[in-house]
Each structure stands twice: as structure tokens, then as C-alpha cells.
């Protein structure tokens, strides 16, 4: 694999992305227009082709295959680099390594080698936490972050807070993220994406609904009188989910809840959606008038995740 050699003194961005989003395309375009050097790297062949076809810019493909060498894993994770992770005298790696990290380790040696050979000023990352490229984010200096789907999960937030000293700014497509990011003392730049004109219509809402996901069995049971789906004095007659396994598992995990969970497209858009964690994608797709979140003890960090989203009228976390 060839590595890029850059011979001028202009600022150079290293863009790491496994998605071609409008923010990625826009950033590449504007960096080139403003005379910056740009090196784009992806681990997905399909994205390399998409960027070539849609942006007209070459992208370096650096494969990051799964790492299956368990001996290597033992050396680096048991405890290896994790030795200092301890909580109240419990060595955290013992609960973290064999049962969790082992399943998702990747071989990012080629990516590290590639990056070590180029000189760049700032790394620009598409903020997709599941991309194998993200395995080296903690090691690559100054960052510009491009929103990828959402910025609002506990894992996104932890990364932003932990690395705020080296994040120059975050690019987002929604104004509401400005106040959310200010919680982490981060500067946001809002990149307006042109939307098709939609004539104003008076939206008709249906009955309130609970959004159910199998991840929130405990939260559901904490708040609901299962027999009638009641919180306090309010009865919620319907429950919806985009997740097929959640729809199938509901009656088996909540045998006393006499309600059927249905796909959202089978009911009229609910006026009020009841959730157990903030989920930007679900709220955008269902588009209720209001959202109420029940997040006991703030386990899903709904308090922080919902800041700036005016659709969320209340978070109950007691």
C-alpha cells in the first residue's frame, strides 16, 4: 500500500470515516475549496467507492480485520494495558476482558502503521463508535468530530468529556446539539443541510404510546403496573417498537402486561411517546409531539442525553 507524501506547508486534515454522510462529504469539499490538504482513510471498500463516485476524491482503503489471536489478547488485555483499571480494589479487567473485549478486538496494525507515516495537523473523525477505525481515536492527537447519526448516547458523551482538551470542535446537523455539547464544554458548528420544502400541515396525533425495547425490561417493570400499563393514574393503551425481537419477546418477558407491542407504522403517530432511554433516531422516526422519559437512577443518562431537545418535556429519574 502506498502512503501519501505531502510537499507543501498547507494545513492537512486526516479524515477517518467508514460512512459517507452529508457532513463527511461537505467537510471534504469545503476543506479542498479552502485550500487544505486532505487525506481520507476508510476500512470499507464500499465507502472508498462511494466517496470516489459521489465526492470525486480518492480514499485510502486500510483493512481492519477481526483479530482472532487470543494469545496476543491475553498479553494486551489480561491485564496488559488494562492493569491500572481498578475500582474499589476490584481489578476491572477481570470482568471486562474474556467476556467482553475479546469478542470485538480488531487488527488495526496496518492503520497505525499508515498513520505513523503521514504528517497531519488534525484528525477529522466520523463519530461512528462502532467503526473499527474508532479503535485508535484515543491515540491520534487533535480532533474535529463529525456527527454520525447521533451524538447522544452515554458512550458518545463519555468520549467527548474525556477528550475535550483535544477536540477543536464538533460538527453537527442540528441546532439543538449546541446546548447538549456545551455540557462537555465543547464548541459546536452547525452544518445546515438543505431540506426539501414541506408545506405546513396540521398534524393529527393518536393515543399516547410506550416505546419498548428488550434492553429496558427492568425499567419497564420498575415503572409499570404490568396489568394495565399504568404509571400513576395514567393508562397507556399501546406499545410500539422498531425492533422485531423486542416485539416477539415482550409477552414472554412481561407475561402480566396485557398489551401487544406493534411496529410504529401500524398506529397513528402518538401525541406523547413514553421512553426508557433517550434515542434520537427513534424520536426522529416516530416524530411525536412530546416525549416523556422514565430512566430510573439515570442509568441511561437520559438527563444529559436529552438536553436541548425540546420534544422531551420531562425526564423522570427517581
Amino acid at each position: 500500500m502506498d502512503t501519501p507524501y505531502i510537499f507543501n506547508n498547507k494545513k492537512t486534515y486526516l479524515i477517518l470515516t467508514d460512512n459517507l454522510t452529508s457532513l463527511v462529504a461537505g467537510f471534504i469539499d469545503s476543506a479542498l475549496v479552502s485550500g487544505k490538504n486532505v487525506v481520507v482513510v476508510t476500512s470499507r471498500k464500499q465507502v472508498q467507492e462511494q466517496i470516489a463516485n459521489n465526492v470525486g476524491f480518492p480514499t485510502f482503503l486500510v483493512p481492519i480485520p477481526p483479530e482472532n489471536d487470543n494469545k496476543l489478547f491475553f498479553d494486551t488485555n489480561m491485564p496488559g494495558n488494562l492493569e491500572e483499571l481498578e475500582y474499589k480494589s476490584f481489578p476491572l479487567w477481570k470482568g471486562l476482558s474474556i467476556d467482553r473485549l475479546r469478542f470485538w478486538q480488531v487488527n488495526n496494525g496496518l492503520l497505525k502503521e499508515f498513520i505513523s507515516k503521514i504528517s497531519f495537523d488534525t484528525a477529522v473523525i466520523d463519530f461512528d463508535l462502532l467503526s473499527p477505525l474508532s479503535s485508535i481515536w484515543e491515540e491520534i492527537g487533535q480532533l474535529i468530530i463529525l456527527k454520525s447519526q447521533t451524538l447522544r448516547t452515554p458512550e458518545h458523551f463519555s468520549f467527548l468529556v474525556r477528550n475535550r482538551e483535544r477536540v477543536e470542535y464538533v460538527v453537527t446537523d442540528k441546532e439543538m446539539d449546541v446546548s447538549y455539547l456545551s455540557q462537555a464544554d465543547l464548541q459546536a458548528k452547525v452544518w445546515s443541510v438543505e431540506k426539501e420544502f414541506e408545506p405546513p400541515i396540521e398534524k393529527v396525533y393518536g393515543l399516547d404510546a410506550i416505546y419498548y425495547d428488550k434492553r429496558y425490561i427492568w425499567q419497564f417493570n420498575e415503572y409499570f403496573d404490568g396489568k394495565h400499563l399504568v404509571i400513576g393514574n395514567t393508562r397507556f393503551p399501546q406499545a410500539i417498537s422498531f425492533d422485531r425481537p423486542s416485539i416477539e419477546l415482550f409477552p414472554r418477558c412481561h407475561p402480566n402486561a396485557h398489551v401487544q407491542v406493534m411496529p410504529p407504522n401500524t398506529i397513528t403517530t402518538p401525541k406523547r411517546l413514553i421512553m426508557f432511554a433517550y434515542d434520537e433516531e427513534v424520536i426522529d422516526r416516530i416524530s411525536p409531539k412530546e416525549v416523556l422519559i422514565y430512566d430510573p437512577y439515570n442509568v441511561n443518562r437520559a438527563v444529559e442525553m436529552s438536553v436541548g431537545d425540546e420534544r422531551v418535556v420531562r425526564v423522570i429519574n427517581g
Binding site: 483479530e67 487470543n70 494469545k71 489478547f73 491475553f74 494486551t76 488485555n77 489480561m78 494495558n81 488494562l82 491500572e84 483499571l85 475500582y87 474499589k88 476490584f90 476491572l92 477481570k94 470482568g95 471486562l96 474474556i98 467476556d99 467482553r100 473485549l101 475479546r102 470485538w104 478486538q105 480488531v106 487488527n107 488495526n108 463508535l129 462502532l130 467503526s131 473499527p132 474508532s134 479503535s135 481515536w137 484515543e138 452515554p154 458512550e155 463519555s158 468520549f159 468529556v161 474525556r162 428488550k214 434492553r215 425490561i217 427492568w218 417493570n221 420498575e222 425481537p245 419477546l249 414472554r252 418477558c253 430510573p296 437512577y297 439515570n298 442509568v299 443518562r301 429519574n317
Partner: protein
């Protein structure tokens, strides 16, 4: 009589421990499932276990805040995508604090049973039990692979904090002792989940079942292999079914699949089991179901049983499928001692006696 919590994080925990749980209840103890969150939740333990104690019920907002403060400061240096680092650490630490609060509350149990120590729930749970003086009992989960010990010392970590480790046979005991588990912690009890009665088959046709490993670990071409076996069975008067691995998330196989909840029910309804590096192979042998290992045209899979016990047949090509019909000629020759060295039917009395003795001591 004691309050005994059985930790159930996934469905197979319940399936492996339900027999001993029922038996302890029969002896007069109050036995209940204890669970905690698993945000991946591919097989929620809440499905079918009745009333349970959820450790998160004992969390506080301060706990959650302290976990998030810790994660926002500490970087996990590991070659995995960023999501899994923070997500896994958060889930582990929330479990730790939830268990700690539960085990120090008025509701605390007199003893805890776990399937094994090697996951993000049971490692902190067994650690806390040891610190708080609550007896904790671990079990052998499945077939022990020497490679797991060589690569990751998996057997060594199986019983660091638990009071006792109940294992399937003398061979397992030897492996755990070699791995450094103190001998006085290990009790050979057999596998408690196998304490079943043979069911009556409804017809006389022989039933062949192919117990698949996780397809990501399959040696060979699963689609072609299954088609060849199905054709052989069809032409030779055998019923045939495929049994997907219980952790296989979504598997659409165009053959008869047997997805009954508990694999033991499937084994007991099987006349000839086809297997590939599987715990199921041992379970079949001890339950009297003949086993054939399958390695069509490939190099051997990891640690095949036929290397240790030549009387277990291996089929290396489609042409050798005729051995399925000859199986009755040689399977009975495998000595019971060899099988029992690997695995025995669980002795529930022995396990219960051990548990009760330690509860009395505490």
C-alpha cells in the same frame, strides 16, 4: 432454611442451573433467580424464569454518577471499537455497584450460585461474595478446551473467588488443578443439568440430529454438508433435523430445525448425534446417545474427541456417511469409565450437601 440466589444473566444460565435450584427448593430452601441488566440482551433471562430479584433495583443515582465520572476520566486501552470499551466498562461497573448494594442490604442471600466466574456479572459478584463472607458456588459450564487455557488461562480464572467449583468429571478436575485452581475448592459432582429422565420416543424411526457449532466456528461448508447428510438420511430411512447452536442469533436453514429451548430435550429425542467440537458431544455420550464427529474434507477441528477416544467415529467425506447406519456396531464398546471421567450425570444430593455445609459454616 436458607435464601439462595441463582444468578441468571442469560437463558442458558437458567437452563444449566434450574435442576439444582429446584432440588434445593425441594429440600426446603428459598431459591430465587437474581439478574442484572444486559443491554445487548439477545436472550433475556427474564423470559420464563418467573419472579426474580433485579440487582439494579438496589442502585442509587450516586452510584450511576460515580461510574460515569470514572469512565469520563479513564481510557480503556484495547484494540476494540470505541463503543465497546465505554459500554462494557459501564455495564461492568453498574453491575458491581448493584451487586454490592444488594449483598449488603437486608435482603442479602445466604448463598449465591453462578454458572461460572468468567463474565462481567459473575466476576464482580463472586469477588464481592468473597469479601462479604457469603458462600458462592460456581459450576463447570461446558467442554474444557486446552487451547482456551493455553491462550487465555480461562480455566485458571474460572474459580478465583468462589467458595467451591462443581465439575463434571475427574478429567475436568485434573485440568482445573493443572490450571492452578486449589484442589480443595473442586468437587466432582457431575453436570446437574443432566439429571433428567429418558423420554419415550413416539415412533420407531431412527432420528439423526446434526448439532451445529456456531457457524462462525464451523469447519467445512455448512450448507453443502447439511444437504449431503439430509440426502443420506432421506434415502436410508432416518428422520433428520438440524439443531442450531443456542447462541446463533438468526439462522435460516432450509431443513427441519429443532429449536426446543433446552438442548437436553433434543438430545433425549435423538438416536444418532452428529457433532463438531461441542459440549453437546459429551452430553450425548453420558445420556447414551451415540455420537459421530463431522469433519468433511477438512483438517480436524480444535481438540476433536475421536483423537482421545478412537471408538468415536469421525466422518471425513460424504462417502463415509454410511457409517451412520453402522453406528450400533461400535458405540457400545466405549467404556463407561472413559465417559464418566469426562462427564457424569449430576449428583444433586452431593451438590446440595456441599452448599448446605458452607451455609451452616457462615
Amino acid at each position: 432454611m436458607a435464601n439462595i440466589a441463582i444468578f441468571v444473566g442469560r437463558k442458558h444460565h437458567a437452563q444449566k442451573l434450574m435442576n439444582i435450584g429446584r432440588f434445593l427448593a425441594y429440600r426446603g430452601h428459598t431459591v430465587f433467580p437474581l439478574t442484572a441488566n444486559n443491554a445487548i440482551n439477545i436472550d433475556p433471562p427474564q423470559d420464563g424464569i418467573g419472579d426474580y430479584v433485579h440487582a439494579y433495583h438496589y442502585l442509587t443515582q450516586e452510584n450511576v454518577s460515580s461510574v460515569d465520572s470514572y469512565i469520563q476520566e479513564k481510557e480503556v486501552r484495547s484494540n476494540v471499537p470505541q463503543f465497546w470499551k465505554d459500554y462494557s466498562l459501564r455495564e461492568l461497573m453498574l453491575s458491581y455497584l448493584a451487586f454490592n448494594n444488594y449483598l449488603t442490604s437486608e435482603d442479602k442471600p445466604d448463598a449465591v450460585l453462578i454458572l461460572h466466574e468468567n463474565n462481567f456479572w459473575t466476576k464482580p459478584l463472586s469477588f464481592l461474595c468473597e469479601q462479604l463472607g457469603i458462600p458462592c458456588f460456581a459450576f463447570q459450564e461446558g467442554l474444557l478446551r486446552r487451547k482456551d487455557q493455553d491462550d487465555m488461562k480461562k480455566q485458571t480464572f474460572a474459580c478465583e473467588y468462589s467458595t467451591k467449583l462443581f465439575v463434571w468429571g475427574d478429567d475436568s478436575k485434573r485440568q482445573y488443578v493443572e490450571a492452578g485452581v486449589p484442589e480443595n475448592k473442586i468437587v466432582v459432582t457431575g453436570a446437574p443439568h443432566l439429571a433428567h429422565n429418558k423420554i419415550q420416543k413416539e415412533n420407531d424411526r431412527k432420528r439423526v440430529v446434526y448439532f451445529l457449532p456456531l457457524l462462525q466456528h464451523y469447519y467445512g461448508k455448512p450448507q453443502a454438508d447439511i444437504e449431503a447428510i439430509a440426502a443420506y438420511c432421506r434415502n436410508n430411512g432416518f428422520d433428520f433435523a438440524v439443531r442450531p447452536h443456542p447462541f446463533e442469533n438468526s439462522l435460516e436453514i432450509p431443513f427441519v430445525t429443532d429449536k426446543r429451548e433446552n438442548v437436553i430435550d433434543v438430545i433425549l429425542d435423538t438416536d444418532i448425534a452428529l457433532v463438531q467440537h461441542s459440549t453437546t458431544a459429551l452430553e450425548c455420550l453420558v445420556l447414551g446417545t451415540p455420537v459421530i464427529e463431522v469433519a468433511f474434507g477438512q483438517k480436524n477441528f480444535i481438540e476433536p474427541l475421536h483423537k482421545e477416544q478412537p471408538l468415536i467415529p469421525v466422518i471425513k467425506s460424504y462417502g463415509e456417511l454410511s457409517r451412520v447406519g453402522e453406528l450400533e456396531n461400535y458405540i457400545p464398546k466405549i467404556s463407561q469409565d472413559w465417559i464418566w471421567d469426562k462427564i457424569r450425570i449430576g449428583d444433586l444430593d452431593l451438590i446440595a450437601n456441599e452448599i448446605e455445609a458452607h451455609i451452616d459454616q457462615h
